[in-house]
Structures are given as structure tokens and as C-alpha cells.
């Protein structure tokens, strides 16, 4: 037996595609954000509301990742025609190669901002760079306030944390969710993370999120 030193990154192929996507987007000055959460936190609902309410200011396209169906892509289509569906056929995350193909099928030149809705999963998608400018993690109050402590990776890597479904906190429903604890835990992992408590259902808090998006898109246009 003999040993050979390799010292190579294993996900090098994914990283190469991610760099290619990132170059493609930078050249066209398009902002691309990768949205990650557990199933049902409200990614699609947030996207639909955001696209509709910002449509006069920012043109938004969506790459919709799902394990098998096109239900979410159809929901998004009610708000924008710029949607491309990726079915991962069982895989729990999108890969940069899949996003590369999807980018070619979006009318990128007509858009300012491209959202990638990743497969509903709080762990796996955070390990795969897609070439995005930033990750947006969504945590809904129904999931519990221990999630940043239990799943630190995605909170450490995200630019923005959207705490969704805050309408449930005031609705007389028993939800044990301490917003301040989540903010503190997330900031311990990531001192620069922007945190917006929102309700995609009632629209509460969404204007701060829109403010951040508008500014980020504006910075790219400069």
C-alpha cells in the first residue's frame, strides 16, 4: 500500500459552475438571491407578494427548485411570467449546474433581480453555492426559536433572515417563539445579518425588506 496526497476540494465541479453563474450575473449587473428554508416557511408566499408589490420598481424573475412538482412555479406565474422550474428528482438541494441551465432559460436581460427558491430544507442547500450574490434564510415562527442554534450553518451564511408568519404571534395562537432570542442567536453566528420580521400574509414588516431589496438592486446598477 502507498498513500497519495490529494488536498482537492470535493465539490469542485459545483464550485466551477457557481463561479460561471456568478460571472454571468455580474457581467449583466443582475442581483441573484438564493432563498432557503424548511418546507412550508413561506418562501413562495413571500416571493409572490414581493414580486407583485415591487413590480413597478424592480423586475423580478424566479428559478423555482422543487423535488418533483411544478405547483410553486405555477403559483409564481400568477405574479410574473419570468419563472423557470427545476425538478431535482429527489435531491434535497439545487446544484449550480441546474441553475446555470435555468439562467439560460430566463429573460435575464429584462430582469433586475433573480430569486432562486431552493428545495425546502434547512441543511443541505446551504452546502452548495449556486453563484448567487447572497442567501436569504426564511424561518417561520411556527418552527420554534431554537433553529439558529440547531442549524447554525444557514444562519451563519445568509445575508438576510426573514422571520415569517409574525401575524401568528398576535393571533391568540399559542406559539412559543421569542423574536429577540432568534435575533441574538442569529447575530452571534453572523454579526452582519439583516433581520426582518414579516408576515407574507398580512404584509406587516414587508416594507423594510423591500427597502433592503431596492437598495441592493440600486447598488448594482451604479
Amino acid at each position: 500500500m502507498y498513500k497519495v496526497d490529494i488536498g482537492k476540494k470535493i465539490l469542485i465541479a459545483n464550485e466551477e459552475y457557481a463561479r460561471k453563474n456568478s460571472r454571468f450575473l455580474a457581467k449583466r449587473k443582475k442581483l441573484c438571491l438564493n432563498m432557503i428554508s424548511s418546507p412550508g416557511s413561506g418562501k413562495t408566499t413571500i416571493l409572490i407578494r414581493t414580486i407583485s408589490e415591487l413590480k413597478d420598481k424592480i423586475k423580478i424573475g424566479v428559478i423555482e427548485g422543487d423535488i418533483q412538482t411544478d405547483i410553486d412555479a405555477e403559483r409564481i406565474r400568477a405574479a410574473t411570467s419570468a419563472v423557470v422550474q427545476i425538478n431535482t428528482n429527489g435531491s434535497c438541494h439545487l446544484s449550480a449546474a441546474q441553475v446555470c441551465g435555468a439562467l439560460e432559460n430566463l429573460p435575464t436581460d429584462d430582469l433586475d433581480l433573480i430569486f432562486i427558491e431552493n428545495v425546502g430544507n434547512l441543511v443541505c442547500p446551504s452546502a452548495f453555492e449556486l453563484g448567487e450574490a447572497g442567501k436569504i434564510v426564511v424561518l417561520s415562527v411556527a418552527e420554534g426559536d431554537d433553529k439558529p442554534a440547531k442549524y447554525p450553518s444557514i444562519f451563519a451564511k445568509s445575508k438576510v433572515l426573514l422571520i415569517n408568519k409574525i401575524d401568528m404571534l398576535g393571533a391568540g395562537v399559542q406559539v412559543d417563539f421569542d423574536v429577540e432570542k432568534v435575533k441574538a442567536d442569529a447575530r452571534r453566528l453572523n454579526k452582519d445579518i439583516e433581520i426582518f420580521p414579516v408576515s407574507a400574509k398580512t404584509g406587516e414588516g414587508m416594507s423594510s425588506w423591500y427597502g433592503w431589496l431596492t437598495e441592493s438592486v440600486g447598488n448594482l446598477r451604479l
Binding site: D5, K8, K9, L11, I12, C124
Partner: protein, 118 residues
């Protein structure tokens, strides 16, 4: 199962080195950071599945998990991040930042000497 994609990429890397060496691989050592969320059992299982029928069938994986390192913003020391007690072990401060996580690396491959014919 993101381990499946890791297993496929790993298989490609080991196979190409095996071709270069013209030898039979028997083991590989990989290392990963905490945020890669690699489950050893699932990765070994996934690798076994994709390696079946290839020159990498039977390769044993050894997986090292590296801790997340932090830097204390009060006393400037570096330490390992512990989820159970997220404070600086030197000064007890809660103000620290995480340093970049260790990448997912293929460290070494072990080959059988006998069949080497180069």
C-alpha cells in the same frame, strides 16, 4: 440527501487519480467542516452505491470532521465553537465571530501496491 452529490464528486476524483496512478484504490481520507453537515453513515452508504461496479468498489472512506473556529472580539483569541456553550473559553465573552468553515476536502488516497504496473 446531499451526500449523494458529494459521493459522486468523490468517486470522480478518486477514479481520475486511480487512472493517473494506474493502481487500485483501497481507501480515501476526506475532511469536512461542521457546516457541510456530512453524515458519515449516509456518505459511506451513498459512496458504496455509486462505486459499485467501478474501479473504486470497496474503497473505505475515513471522514474527519473539523470544528468551527471562532475569534473572540473582546480578547482576540481563537477557539473552537461549541453549540452547547457559545462563549469564549478564555474570557467568557459572548461577542465572537465565526471564522470560515473548513472546506470539504479529499485529503489522501491509499492504493494497493501489487497491481501497480507503471
Amino acid at each position: 440527501m446531499h451526500e449523494t452529490m458529494v459521493a459522486q464528486s468523490l468517486l470522480a476524483a478518486i477514479s481520475s487519480e486511480a487512472d493517473r496512478q494506474n493502481a487500485r484504490p483501497v481507501g480515501a481520507k476526506i475532511s469536512c467542516g461542521t457546516f457541510d453537515a456530512i453524515n458519515d453513515e449516509i456518505l459511506c452508504f451513498a459512496f458504496e452505491a455509486v462505486a459499485k461496479g467501478t474501479g473504486c468498489e470497496g474503497v473505505k472512506l475515513e471522514i474527519e470532521h473539523k470544528p468551527i473556529r471562532c475569534r473572540c472580539r473582546d480578547c482576540d483569541r481563537n477557539f473552537d465553537f461549541e453549540l452547547s456553550s457559545p462563549i469564549c473559553p478564555e474570557c467568557g465573552s459572548e461577542k465572537f465571530e465565526l471564522l470560515p468553515d473548513a472546506p470539504l476536502l479529499l485529503e489522501t488516497i491509499e492504493f494497493q501496491t501489487e497491481q501497480r504496473n507503471v
